[in-house]
Amino acid sequence: MRRLALRSRLTLTLAAAAVVPVLAFSLLVLLILDQSVGDRQVDALGAEAQLAAGQLGSNLDASAAARIAGLTGTGVTFFDAQGRVLASSGSGTGQVPPRPPAASAAAAGSGGSTISRTSGGLVVAYAGIGGPPALFVVALSQPAATGPALLAPLLAILVATLLLAAFLSLALGRSLIRPLSELRETLDRLQAGDLQAQVPVESDDELGRLAASHNRLAATLAGRNRALAVVSQAFAPLSPQAGVASFSAAAERAAGQAFGFTAVSVRLGQPPDATPPEKVPGEAFDVEAPLAMGDQVLGAIRGTLPPTRDWGEADQDLLRVLGIQLAGAVRNAELFDATAELAELKNEFLRGVSHNLQTPLTSIRAFAGQLADETGDQRLGIIVEQSERLSRLVAQLLTVTKIEAGTLKPQVDVFPMGALVRRAWESLGHPTSDLALDDGATGWLAAADRDWVEQVVWALLDNALRYGGGGPVEVRLAPVADAAGATRLHTTVRDHGPGIAPEDRERAFERFTRLTPGTTEGSGLGLSVARGLVEAMGGRLWLAEVEGPGAAFTFSLPAEHIGEP
């Protein structure tokens, strides 16, 4: 079962503390009042009875009873010595008092009176007339005056007291609870991440101390949070190529900022001291964490703290985190350097391969060309063409690595596409197919890298010849406005071969892909390199939709209108 809320319990406690004595006191007062009222009534009634007895003669009839009743405001009854009722005024309550006890008759003889209380709530005073022993007894009766009249105001006072007690205890309870609920709200905000939340310290008691220690906790948390932010952001602006030294410098900066070190150093290749340095009170002291990567320790980070600074387990953990981060960053930087070195080696190798292949090809082509011019021998023309083809394939290999590395930079020039297509066609030297060039781009120049576009067109024409089944190769040029309103020059190369199956459409551009199984002709690089080059020039290359058999490739390039000078 849940216990009552603290506020309710406090209220109840205070209320109980107030109500119990009030109740007890009220009862006591009631008793005393009751007693004294009863006594007074008895005294008065007894005196009146004696007075009445003294005044009465022997004429004890109803009129005398009524007269005395009118004088005293009580019921009056006369008894004879045997206790028989002689006359009665009626008591006002309709009751007739009981016959006087024997003792009262005896007492009455001495001029006194006897008091009796009836079970019907009457107080009766008996006094003897004549005697002693008394000949007659007069009885004055009155309802007992235990006062409902007194009870009502008393009850009102009691209720008012209770209400006041309840109100006071609520108010007091609230003032006691308020600092606690403020503390709770602040803790809630703290939990929600608001480390600036402070509880006002209003007193020097337990509550005040609780508030103050909470505020210290919040400040410590905020400080540690700031340190954590600094540590976690330490290497954010750096990329792996920044180098190991930059990472160490960044770690030193971050550590100084996060922990308030007066001096900080990163040592690589040197694990931290086995025993942590001793802290001498009043002196600056050193703390240190390893640059750990799994089981490996790459070095240590060490900082000097001012004597006033505390250094807790949590601070040490945070420094350790910085050490781990730095170790990761250092390892990444080292790997990056190694990779860059390897990439440079690979490029150096490819440059060498390219040079060693292109140099003899240059001679072969040069001499064959010279001889072809001199002798007109067709076979020498074939040597020229084939050596050129080989050169292009070698160049493609080099281009692939540059596309991969993203280091391609076009040397943009302006040129008419039609002339370039014709020249590329001639360099293929293919006599068996026809070129059908539909130049719809007169008045426009392509703005791109001339050599690259020549490679692209050459690859597309070569492809169309290879897979076109000997049919004519169609090339269509057209300026087309793109979505942004700029004009692009579209070049479409179409063959009339079997075409490309829908499921192969994207695969056609993947490297080393040959769509015809068993084919080993070609490098499988042509389309992939062509697409890479076109994209590096800000264009696109795609497989166009065609009607009828055959495949059509289209590429777009930035275009310039010739216009006026």
């Binding site: 490029n347 440059r351 060498g352 390219s354 040079h355 292949l357 292109q358 140099t359 003899p360 090809l361 240059t362 001679s363 082509r365 040069a366 001499f367 060309g369 010279q370 050596s387 050129e388 050169s391 160049a395 080099l398 540059k402 280091t407 391609l408 930079k409 076009p410 040397q411 943009v412 020039d413 302006v414 040129f415 008419p416 002339a419 020249r423 120049l445 703005a447 890298d449 001339r450 050599d451 310039e560 209108h561 010739i562 216009g563 006026e564 000078p565």
Partner: protein, 234 residues
């Protein structure tokens, strides 16, 4: 400016076959040709006599083309054309642009090389300040490094653009004919057309003019050609 007699070319390549072929072709075109097999040999030959033009291979044993070109340029402003099996876009080729006037990718057609030689030799007559040329109004030409500075922002120039600006800057405030510009920019291209100059000028204006439609620096002189101006003060 050139010494009387044929233009002298020093050809440096480690492929003896290419040396023989190129030397033969160049001689038959009227050049005086000397050859060297590597960079060291080239430096020894240069101690004897300075040629008018240097044709060097980029990859050579002992002293590679780039180092050779740097050593030569440190001593004299000798025009250099680099023959290489690597093409533009390669980091080496970029480094080369600062020291060589031009380069040609192997394998090449001899007529293409011949056209580039002609173009480079033609440019030898042009002299622009070797440093930067301040055109005023926040535009600075830095042709040695093939770039413009517009309000201190670097704008890269393509080889053709820098060749045209070079020709215009050599004749600052003077009209340069469209034909001259065409020859400076495209002499190695088959059937060059004046429209290349028009379009390239328009592209250049987009790079250096505040308002390309109201040019201040690159002025069209109708029916003749173009003129490079400084911005007038104010």
């Amino acid at each position: 400016m050139n010494a009387p007699g044929p233009t002298r070319i020093l050809l440096v390549d480690d492929d003896p076959n290419l040396l023989v072929f190129l030397a033969g072709q160049l001689r038959s075109d009227g050049f005086e040709v000397h050859t060297a097999r590597d960079g060291q040999e080239a430096l020894r030959r240069l101690e004897g006599a300075w040629p008018d033009l240097l044709l060097i291979d980029l990859l050579m044993p002992r002293l590679d083309g780039l180092s050779l070109a740097r050593q030569v340029k440190a001593r004299a402003d000798l025009p250099i054309i680099v023959l290489s099996a690597i093409d533009a876009g390669d980091s080496k080729a970029e480094a080369l642009e600062e020291v060589a006037e031009d380069y040609i990718t192997k394998p090449f057609h001899y007529p293409e090389l011949r056209a580039r030689i002609t173009r480079v030799l033609r440019r030898v007559g042009d002299r622009v300040p070797s440093g930067q040329l301040d055109l005023g109004g926040g535009v600075v030409l830095d042709l040695q490094r093939r770039r413009l500075l517009v309000d201190d922002q670097e704008v890269r120039l393509t080889p053709v653009e820098s060749r045209l600006l070079y020709a215009l800057a050599a004749h600052l405030d003077t009209v340069v004919s469209t034909e001259t510009l065409l020859a400076r920019g495209w002499s190695d291209t088959e059937a060059p057309d004046p429209s290349y100059v028009w379009v390239t000028m328009r592209r250049l204006r987009r790079k250096l003019e505040r308002d390309p439609d109201a040019p201040v620096y690159l002025e069209t002189v109708r029916g003749v050609g173009y003129r490079l101006n400084r911005a007038t003060a104010g």
